[in-house]
Amino acid sequence: MRVSATVPVGGEPTLTDSQPPPSKRALSIAFWIFPGFFGLFGVVFVVLLRVIPPPRPDVDNKYITDYFETHHSSILIGLGLLCLVFGGSAVANGFITYHMKRMSSGPVFAYVYMGGLAVGSIPGMLLVAVCWGAAALRPDREPRIIAMLYDLGMLSFNGQLGCFATAYLAFAIAILVDKNNIFPKWLAYLTIWQIVTEVIATQMWQQTSGPFAWNGSIAFWLAVVVFGVWLNCQGLMLKKATDDHPAGTRPPD
């Protein structure tokens, strides 16, 4: 429906005709939600829910129930804060989708990126808080049920592979094909490492200790470093893409 917005129909004034001079304030608002959200995300997962750094997978039920008893309030507050702000991921990734729509590589991979992360944010981010919230909610619950919620939360948080690998793949391919240079090519290559770390994370589904477990030096720590580098680069390049965006233009439908 691009026609309706840009070409006069029947001589009537169109939506774009009598606008004030183009500005980019909306874009910078959408951009600043990105660092804001990831900052809060860090607070929730590191300080409140305490899933980063991850607790051990090789522990008994006693340890787990004690863990939830000790951190009872902070986990429930973490659940609340996450429930309040986790929509920020939709803005961060929706805004990336917007820039992907500006590429010359067609809309397909922009939609794949959007779909992959819209789905992935539920098991990959919300579910751990829900499971841990349910575990912390009733300290007198049976220990074996609490232990199951502990595993369900940690594995869904750290072990979500497909949604993110799909989104990363779409992001990388779209950048490599793009000729408008919305994002630099090296960001695409960096994104490929993200896929590799997801592939390695398959191992945490069959290890309860060692370097490939969910708290392992390779499956977790190295992956977190790679993710941190990647996220910072993506944020910086998103800033650059937003700054270079000509005001008053829109991506094709």
Binding site: K185, W193, V196, S217, V226
Partner: protein, 202 residues
């Protein structure tokens, strides 16, 4: 991928790359970011592997003995030869012989496929004799060789892009061919380190 840069245009004109000349960057910066980053990450894997090995040297050494070093050596030669073909293909492309370059790239790719086939055979041997990720050495073995295989597969796709580039006479971009070759040699390089650390170290 990227547009051809001024470097490639000069090279396409046939300007020689003299030994000792320090201005020519093979491929482009973007690909080197990828390669250096990949080397850094793999370097971290290797060092973490060595740390875990140092914590249980006997167990690792005992498990290492179940690897078939002959297959490892053969696979190393296959990959080295493949690298040679790809390196020669870059030279052929630069000296204006795209047909020869395409043939050499195909030969390099065929060696890559052979490498994957031998690797799959080796995995099936190890799995059939019961060496699974339950053993710490073998979990490193499967993950490191698995991620490396992923890189080989990606490399085969990239070589395909190089061939596509060489085939189109209108826009034959040497940088792109160089990028592909650089990536392919990195796959070779990583395998050399994996071979040394998994098969040979005591």
């Amino acid at each position: 991928m990227t547009e051809s840069t001024s470097t490639s245009a000069v090279l396409a004109d046939g300007r020689p790359i003299a030994d000792g000349e320090c201005s020519h960057l093979p491929g482009d910066t973007h690909m080197w970011v990828m390669v250096l980053g990949d080397l850094a990450i793999f370097g971290a894997y290797f060092l973490i592997y060595m740390v875990h090995r140092a914590m249980a040297p006997e167990a690792f050494l005992a498990a290492q003995q179940h690897l078939d070093v002959t297959i490892g050596v053969v696979n190393t030669m296959v990959l080295l030869t493949s690298s040679l073909f790809v390196a020669l293909s870059v030279y052929a492309a630069r000296s204006g012989r795209p047909d020869r370059a395409i043939k050499l790239t195909y030969a390099g790719g065929a060696c890559g496929v052979l490498f994957v086939a031998i690797k799959a055979y080796e995995w099936s041997l190890e799995l059939r004799s019961g060496h699974t990720v339950g053993n710490e050495f073998f979990s490193f073995y499967y993950v490191l060789t698995g991620v490396h295989m992923l890189h080989v597969t990606l490399g085969l796709i990239i070589l395909g892009v190089s061939v596509r580039e060489l085939r189109a006479p209108k826009r034959r971009r040497i940088t792109l061919v160089e990028q592909g070759a650089t990536y392919w040699h990195m796959v070779d390089l990583l395998w050399i380190v994996i071979f040394g650390l998994l098969y040979v170290v005591r």
